[in-house]
Symmetry: C2
Subunit: 196 residues, 2 copies
Amino acid sequence: MAKIKSGNNSTKKETVIEQAAFLFKTKGYPAASMRELAIALGVEAPSLYNYIGSKSELLQTICFNVASEFSVNLGRVENSLEATIAKVESIIRFHIQTMLSRFNEVYVANHEWKHLEEPYFSEFLHFRRDYEKRLVILIEAGIEKKEIKNLHPYVTVLTILSAVRGLEFWHGHKKNVTAQELENDMVNHLLHGIVK
Amino acid sequence: MAKIKSGNNSTKKETVIEQAAFLFKTKGYPAASMRELAIALGVEAPSLYNYIGSKSELLQTICFNVASEFSVNLGRVENSLEATIAKVESIIRFHIQTMLSRFNEVYVANHEWKHLEEPYFSEFLHFRRDYEKRLVILIEAGIEKKEIKNLHPYVTVLTILSAVRGLEFWHGHKKNVTAQELENDMVNHLLHGIVK
DNA sequence: TTACAAAACTAACGCATATTAGTTTTTAAG
DNA sequence: CTTAAAAACTAATATGCGTTAGTTTTGTAA
């Protein structure tokens, strides 16, 4: 009856994925049903299978799309000629901006990936570990060059990644802070601390 | 047939709750089944109902137990006579220690509370907002007394809470960092930054 | 040993799930 | 207008869920 509407710049499949990201974020992957997704798209559940292979395929697509974006950005930064501390700042800003602009998908990639099926689960886990490792190497280089304090590099990476991830709590809270202020204050905090 | 074994210092109900926390953390609340919980306790699923009222009651118990602990601690700190920055440090250390010592329950309270049913969902949400608000007030007092940098207080609170929460990723990673080093380095990072 | 309660069991209910099969409607091109 | 493919539908299947009812076993105290 009703057809799935898609914006001009996106295929119908992409529309389904976007809506799925919203739903997976809101209810969690296991609790989100295909019927509910179908209703949100104005369609019966079986019709979705004209566009997608399965529910789990939706999760896979979302998670690996996000992973790819972060990986590509990190590659760019690694190959740049900036000082280490500038690289770190650049990565933090990318995380914040991506978190804010592609909220649903990033949230799902952060929280629901544990529901991936094998072999995707292992692959994603490996990606995460690899990404962390690359950041640790970056921090170690900064310590070596005496740009960065000699804290345990993995703890530093963990603190940064976690802080940035926490923006999901800001989303929706309409505090009187602009995205730019938020980004600057968080970068400032993570690089220079809060003690005067 | 088999009976639920409980350590000497805990009732059987507490044993069920502990195992439920582990399961809810591992699979997520919606995907965790009572049958699976029962198997982990060496029992058939209906037997669980001799100890508990329902699956959702388990989630409620876990979430509000954790909430209560954090609230009590914050109350203690608020009423102490330390400098603001020492209060903030104390709170950070409490979060880290509690996260590490009661990992499963804290994880569930952090991630699965959105599956609480009304009115518990709203109550928990209110608690969270209240807790954040009390921290914001603390930070504002520190800014007032010029102990703390004048960043947006909510962003500061968000950064701290999120960073600390991220310890869930450390758990299981057996890096060569002791809990004490981890705690000290993270406190150092959050208070003084990483830039030399 | 008897009696009672605690705690386990088996069987089953009602419901929701993802997905498939088969069919009909809609859309667009020749 | 015809035709063929795309996209929707209805109906149904198998599976798993939380939970209840009713019964049997186990443990404990009189």
